[in-house]
């Protein structure tokens, strides 16, 4: 919810500064950049048919790397599965499912029968090593951006074989929000010069919005 509002806010915010979709760029221009924009305008809005092939970067680092225990260590194949969503009290009490704010539970992502697998978009079993296929069940737009290399990160090169970071390189599956942290150090103004003066004047509108009244 909060994130949705945030996105809306950013979109609105961009509206204020005249966002330019590629399609709106002048077409008569000669420069390469404008040429691309023109190409872009003819291509949009139909989605490209298929994302180019990619492999996932090995997860030797990142969130939760090396914490993986196969579920079949305890859940044997063929065990009866209780599909009712419920709070798990005996085992897994160390797991805190923040993901989905209570709207989802284990078997929305984990495959109920093939215990060492996740659940794909059509209910198929997806190996743990391919988490994006499970995440895409709900996050279809993000999954598409991911496959095209725009959500997440392409590793190493910008041409040739495409290697993408796994979803889990950045997001913890059960608590996917990226935790805020301290920023790295800022610019280093020269000590021998006058120091930067921060000059910011909130407008009347600003003050009204922030103060909640005019």
């Amino acid at each position: 919810m909060a994130r949705g509002a945030e996105i809306v806010a950013v979109v609105l915010l961009l509206g204020a500064c005249e966002p330019t979709r590629p399609a709106e760029l002048p077409k008569q221009a000669t420069g390469d950049v404008r040429r691309i924009s023109t190409v872009a305008s003819t291509a949009a809005p139909a989605p490209p048919p298929r994302a180019p092939d990619f492999t996932l970067a090995p997860r030797d680092a990142g969130v939760g790397a090396g914490e993986y225990h196969p579920c079949t260590e305890c859940h044997e194949a063929g065990d009866e599965v209780d599909r009712r969503p419920r709070v798990l009290e005996d085992d897994h009490d160390d797991l805190k499912l923040v993901h989905g704010t209570g709207k989802i539970w284990c078997l929305d992502c984990h495959h109920p029968e093939e215990r060492d697998a996740l659940l794909g978009a059509r209910g198929e079993a997806v190996p743990f090593a391919q988490p994006h296929r499970a995440c895409g069940r709900c996050h279809a737009g993000v999954a598409r951006d991911f496959a095209f290399g725009v959500h997440g990160r392409r590793e190493g090169n910008w041409r040739g074989e495409r290697v993408l970071l796994s979803c889990l390189a950045c997001h913890r599956a059960h608590d996917p929000a990226i935790a805020p942290r301290r920023p790295a150090s800022g610019p280093t103004p020269r000590a021998d010069l006058p120091q930067p003066v921060h000059h910011h004047e909130p407008t009347r509108l600003h003050r009204a919005i922030e103060g909640g009244e005019r």
Binding site: L14, V142, G149, R153, R182, H198
Partner: protein
């Protein structure tokens, strides 16, 4: 392609230069603080002698190779480690572009420091190519943006982050400004500086609407052992003092197919880099499927750097 042009008429050029230089030899050497007897090492920062050097774009391949070898020897000696200086030309059919997700940028500044290391930026004082601006949510206003923000955690409430660096404008005002062609746009769209030609007038810096150029107010120094030894002539090789420099989209990496250091360092994957001429590239996907904008588009500088939101 950057097919190297042969010098149109070297003998005439040399003759003119000798004529002009003869008169000014004494003055030039005095200014450079060097004795008249100093031998010519044309591409070293030694300014006066660099006058006898042909413009980089008009050098023959042999001249360039000799110069690069000389630079490698010099840098290796000075930094006590083997340093490579290459001049990988622009790849065919490539025009580099950058996109940055404003939603995903959280203001961590990891890109800033990765850039400093990768590009051998001077540390006395530290030069930074990337500025991350902290702006209030609800507006995109550069005046009043906070540059020195420091919070226990970012993103700070009510704030958004806008990293700015050289946008490699397709119609760059800085290149027009340079009185001596010491800066130009390469065929792959990267605006580069020849540090051995620049006279340090800083007119290009005033011409840049994005405050993307930096000047070496003193001879920049990188501590011994911290130098990135993989350098490009037009990119991250050690710079002399008194010249202008700027982001080159990590020309030393990107011309070899690698990602720029800032992209690699971004912990949220906010940066998307690629070939604008390749319809299957990530950058083209952004342009075609996301809402994008560029800074100060009204100036018609045609930045090859887009901000986007999903």
């Amino acid at each position: 392609m950057s097919a190297r042009r042969e010098p149109p008429c070297p003998s005439r050029r040399v003759a003119l230069k000798v004529l002009g230089a003869g008169a000014a030899t004494a003055a030039g050497s005095l200014l450079a603080g060097r004795s008249l007897a100093e031998p010519a090492e044309p591409t070293e920062s030694a300014g006066f002698w660099s006058f006898f050097r042909t413009h980089y774009k008009e050098m023959t391949r042999g001249e360039v190779d000799a110069m690069l070898a000389r630079l490698e020897r010099k840098y290796s000696r000075r930094h006590k480690q083997p340093v490579k200086v290459v001049n990988t030309p622009a790849p065919d059919g490539v025009l580099f572009g950058f996109a940055l997700s404003l939603e995903r940028c959280k203001g961590y500044r990891d890109c800033v420091h990765a850039c400093v290391k990768e590009n051998n930026l001077g540390r006395n004082p530290e030069m930074q190519y990337i500025r991350v601006l902290e702006i209030d949510r609800g507006e995109v206003k550069l005046a009043g943006a906070v540059h020195e923000y420091d919070h226990p955690t970012v993103p700070a409430e009510g704030k958004a982050y806008l990293p700015v660096q050289c946008f490699q404008c397709d119609d760059p005002p800085c290149v027009d400004a340079c009185p001596i062609d010491a800066t130009w746009m390469e065929p792959d769209g990267i605006v580069v500086v020849d540090y051995d030609h620049c006279i340090g007038c800083r007119y290009c810096m005033t011409a840049c609407p994005y405050w993307a150029r930096r000047f070496n107010w003193t001879t920049p120094s990188v501590p011994v052992g911290e130098l990135n030894p993989d350098t490009h002539y037009l990119g991250n090789r050690p710079r002399p003092g008194g010249v202008v420099e700027k982001c080159s989209y990590c020309i030393q990496r990107t011309r070899q197919g690698r990602q720029p250091a800032c992209q690699e360092a971004c912990p949220t994957g906010a940066r998307v880099f690629g070939n604008l001429l390749d319809p299957d590239s990530e950058i083209r996907y952004v342009l075609e499927h996301k809402t994008v904008f560029r800074l100060k588009e009204e100036l018609s500088t045609e930045p090859k750097f887009w901000y986007f939101t999903d």
